[in-house]
């Protein structure tokens, strides 16, 4: 850089921003910034100027992937799939399960292949992972679903869908005119069925036992680039209502 600035005295500064994946403590993606000033340093230029530059660079949003992987994703058309947090969960067994909203939607839409379904297994956790353990517990304890909600994460490309069996009831969700209703018992039966199939080590799974009209509706929303913006229990908990929002860049081209 010094060589460049020496040979180009009419350039007053160069900033570089590069990607790093840090593996110590908590592994994370990060950006590192450097500012190189033309010599001799002119304080009258640097002093007013540096804070704006520094603030701008430090305020850049967090990176989700390395530039190399981002390029591979774009070339292979996988840039939409990258944002799905697949098996992400927060889980208090017997009480609450928060799960990747996009994975939940794909299960409801019945578009998860048998191979993809296997990737949901977390073999070092009971009953092949939180999703299956939670719904197995629902079946065995005959617990009643207290609430379902969607927690939006605008800085990520996936949200969380939260099922609660106990605790405080949730605030009413943001409604939309695009929604579908699924009988709570049908949805629970479907997930319980998947949970039992997951622990039975069978080759094929009954992905697709929800009503065809429900699956078709959810698929249509996803095709149009819409994701869940809310979920709630209606009719005294007898029905789960899933609300879809407007076009979402997480799964559709930029506009």
């Amino acid at each position: 850089m010094e060589e460049f600035l020496k040979r180009h005295p009419y350039i007053h500064f160069v900033t570089t921003t590069h990607y790093e994946y840090r593996t110590w403590a908590k592994p994370h993606h990060t950006l590192c910034h450097n500012v190189f000033w033309q010599r001799p340093f002119d304080e009258s230029v640097i002093q007013p100027f540096y804070p704006v530059l520094n603030d701008s660079l430090r305020s850049l949003p967090s990176v989700k992937t390395s530039p190399q992987n981002a390029q591979i994703d774009i070339r292979s058309g996988e840039q939409f799939a990258r944002g799905c947090r697949h098996t992400w969960h927060e889980w208090s067994p017997t009480t609450k399960l928060a799960y990747s909203s996009r994975t939940f939607l794909r299960l409801v839409a019945g578009i998860v292949s048998h191979e993809e379904f296997r990737t949901l297994f977390v073999d070092n956790l009971p009953n092949r992972g939180p999703f299956f353990d939670f719904f197995r517990h629902v079946a065995e304890s005959k617990a009643k679903l207290l609430s379902i909600e969607v927690i939006q994460r605008p800085d990520d490309d996936d949200d969380s869908v939260v099922f609660k069996l106990r605790g405080d009831s949730v605030t009413p969700c943001k409604g939309s005119t695009l929604f579908c209703d699924i009988p709570t018992a049908t949805l629970l039966r479907y997930f319980v069925c998947l949970a039992y199939e997951a622990i039975m080590d069978q080759r094929r799974f009954s992905i697709g036992t929800l009503p065809i009209s429900t699956q078709a509706f959810v698929r249509q929303q996803m095709r149009e680039g819409r994701l869940l913006v809310g979920a709630m229990l209606v009719e005294q908990g007898q029905t789960v209502r899933l609300h879809f929002g407007s076009r979402d860049a997480a799964i559709s081209p930029f506009w």
């Binding site: 350039i11 590069h18 704006v52 603030d55 949003p61 070339r75 800085d155």
Partner: protein, 253 residues
């Protein structure tokens, strides 16, 4: 690189704040949604950086200066002084050109594909690729001794496939392949049945800059500096370099 929702949000911010207007917005969208990865990543960086600066200062995007259109004209007030102004170019730098010249990724991918197609999917290979340093100090660079990209499939079929066939015929015997043809290629492959299950390998880092000026970072900076000079702008001028997959940036610290 960034969350898609974040990029969309920044695009909308740039539109509402009047920084990115048609037809430049349409051009940015085309690049963002295109399949040309380098252009898409560069557009993503532009949107993110523009929005970050535009939240703190007045920004004009690609304002014409003579025949040139520098990416940014930034103006911001300073307490107790006249406003500060500068023009800047955003340049995203990647090692794509070096990767094309040293197709090691393609070579191993093709090797695995041919082995798999021949019925050997158990691994056990260790692939070592030789290299040489070309150029005279201070303009040196590392070059891997591999066939050119278009010659890789033919090279593998002619010279390496018989070795894989021999491995398949005697899978319990360790075997070696050493290239002894042209000096433009240096390749050795070891098969070790005790290492079945994966392949390994090694090669020199060809993208770490060894030359002061013959490197991708310097070339990009030089191009942008030339544009800024030709713009005729007499105030502060700067270049904002961003990472689209460039080893030189990590080592510029």
């Amino acid at each position: 690189m960034f969350g898609r929702r974040v990029v969309q949000r920044e695009l909308e911010f740039l539109e509402t704040s009047g920084v990115l207007i048609q037809p430049k917005r349409a051009d940015t969208l085309n690049r963002l949604n295109g399949r040309e990865a380098r252009r898409a990543i560069a557009a993503e960086w532009e949107v993110i950086l523009l929005a970050a600066v535009a939240r703190r200062a007045d920004v004009q995007y690609e304002k014409p200066f003579g025949s040139k259109y520098p990416d940014l004209l930034v103006r911001f007030p300073v307490p107790d002084g006249p406003p500060v102004e500068f023009v800047g170019e955003i340049v995203s730098v990647s090692d794509e050109h070096e990767k094309k010249r040293n197709p090691v990724g393609y070579f191993t991918q093709e090797f695995n594909r041919i082995a798999w197609k021949m019925g050997h999917d158990k691994g056990g290979f260790d692939i070592r690729i030789g290299d040489r340093t070309v150029g005279i100090y201070p303009e040196k660079r590392t070059e891997l001794l591999l066939p050119s990209k278009q010659d890789v499939p033919d090279f593998l079929k002619r010279h390496v496939a018989p070795f894989i066939r021999s491995v398949m015929a005697h899978p319990t015997v360790p075997q070696n392949f050493e290239w002894c043809g042209s000096s433009e290629i240096a390749l050795s492959i070891k098969y070790d049945p005790s290492r079945l299950g994966w392949n390994s390998g090694g090669y020199a880092s060809y993208s770490s800059p060894m030359a002061l000026r013959s490197n991708v970072l310097y070339r990009n900076l030089d191009d942008k500096a030339s544009d800024l000079r030709k713009s005729g702008y007499t105030g502060l001028k700067g270049i904002l370099v961003v990472d689209a997959g460039c080893q030189a940036l990590c080592s510029s610290d």
